[in-house]
């Protein structure tokens, strides 16, 4: 199971790609389709399971399209 994930408000994304460049796990890519504003938004690609929910994408995003989720820290057994 992925350590974390993100949801993306694709209708808000302007396709600047800053998150793609910043993502340390390289799990973000542009979609093939255009959104209503005429941009190609980002999405998690087939490596989505590698997302750690670090939130770097949310830091650099000018349009605040990311909501970042992370697995709660596992308690010691």
């Amino acid at each position: 199971m992925a350590k974390g994930t993100v949801t993306i408000q694709t209708d808000r994304c302007k396709g600047c790609g800053l998150c793609i460049q910043a993502c340390p796990q390289h799990v973000l890519a542009f979609t093939e389709e255009f959104n209503a504003r005429g941009y190609r938004p980002v999405q998690l690609d087939e490596r989505a399971h590698a997302c750690t929910g670090c939130g770097v994408c949310a830091v650099v995003c000018p349009d605040v399209v990311f909501t970042v989720y992370r697995q709660p820290a596992r308690r010691a057994a």
Partner: protein, 270 residues
């Protein structure tokens, strides 16, 4: 509306995860009008996060500038007003004096603050007004089409300096924050940059310190932020960050030019 895309973790998994980042309360739910890759959007959410973390949204008042960020009052979910071009520090002075228990900040670009508003910021600093100034420096006039600003780099091509800014006839770049740091009324004067994730996080800390300085009544606090303008620099958004690092940083080094000794949570990191 959050859209879950094909490759994302199914929604059932999201229930078991905790949210570590979401849209700050201090931002409204409007899409911004900024160009793709513009640093204004990032700086907006950094300020909003700081306001949320400090819990001051109910008594914070923003003053929007003229320039690209003219609609900042629509994007911040708090009381705001719109100042005449460059006059945000004067307006903030009035608001702060009438409502001294409120936190008042101005959000200004370099054309607004360093050019037409040079007089206002200078004298607000001399008076030591207890306001916070967020100074977004992208070295051009953005909204009007990329003309030369006082902060434009020597040799930089703009629509009004097509051969590159020649300091002999068009002057040298203005280092406003260093200038303000010499004034006794200024409590906090620093420059930060947006060219990397680490620097962006440092920018957020600096904004936090600037608001804290105002809460402690120490004087005027200013954070200059080197910001990307991909449209008027005619580069891709990702390349604009390299432009900040390679071209702007040598002229405008990041650093703390003045930090008042009384500033409380200075040790929280920088």
């Amino acid at each position: 509306m959050n859209i879950l895309l094909e490759h994302e973790t199914p929604a059932t998994d999201l229930d078991q995860m905790e949210i570590v980042y979401q849209r700050p309360d201090a931002l409204t739910d409007l899409a911004t009008h900024y160009c793709p890759g513009c640093s204004h959007g990032v700086i907006h959410h950094l300020i909003a996060e700081v306001i949320d973390e400090l819990g001051i949204r109910s008594h914070t008042i923003g003053v929007a500038p003229v320039g690209c960020a003219v609609f900042a009052y629509k994007y911040f979910n708090l009381d705001s007003c719109e100042a005449a071009h460059g006059r945000a520090p004067a307006m903030a002075t009035g608001i702060k004096r009438v409502l001294p228990d409120h936190i008042v900040f101005t959000y200004q670009g370099d054309g607004d603050l360093a050019s037409i508003g040079g007089n206002e910021i200078l004298h607000a600093a001399l008076r030591g007004e207890r306001i916070t100034v967020i100074f977004v420096n992208n070295a051009v006039y953005g909204m009007t089409g990329g003309q030369m600003a006082p902060t434009t780099l020597a040799g930089m091509k703009t629509t009004s300096s097509p051969a590159g800014r020649n300091p002999l006839t068009q002057g040298y770049p203005l280092h406003l924050t260093e200038m303000l740091a010499t004034m006794p009324g200024v409590a906090y004067a620093v420059r930060r940059s947006m060219h990397s994730v680490a620097e962006t996080r440092k920018t957020k800390k600096a904004i936090r310190h600037a608001f804290t300085a105002q809460q402690q009544g120490l004087g005027l606090s200013i954070v200059e932020i080197l910001a990307a303008c991909p449209t008027n620099w005619h580069v891709e958004p990702a390349d604009a960050l390299d432009y900040i690092r390679d071209r702007m940083l040598p002229e405008y080094p990041v650093g703390d030019f003045k930090v008042s000794e009384g500033l409380g949570d200075r040790r929280l990191g920088d």
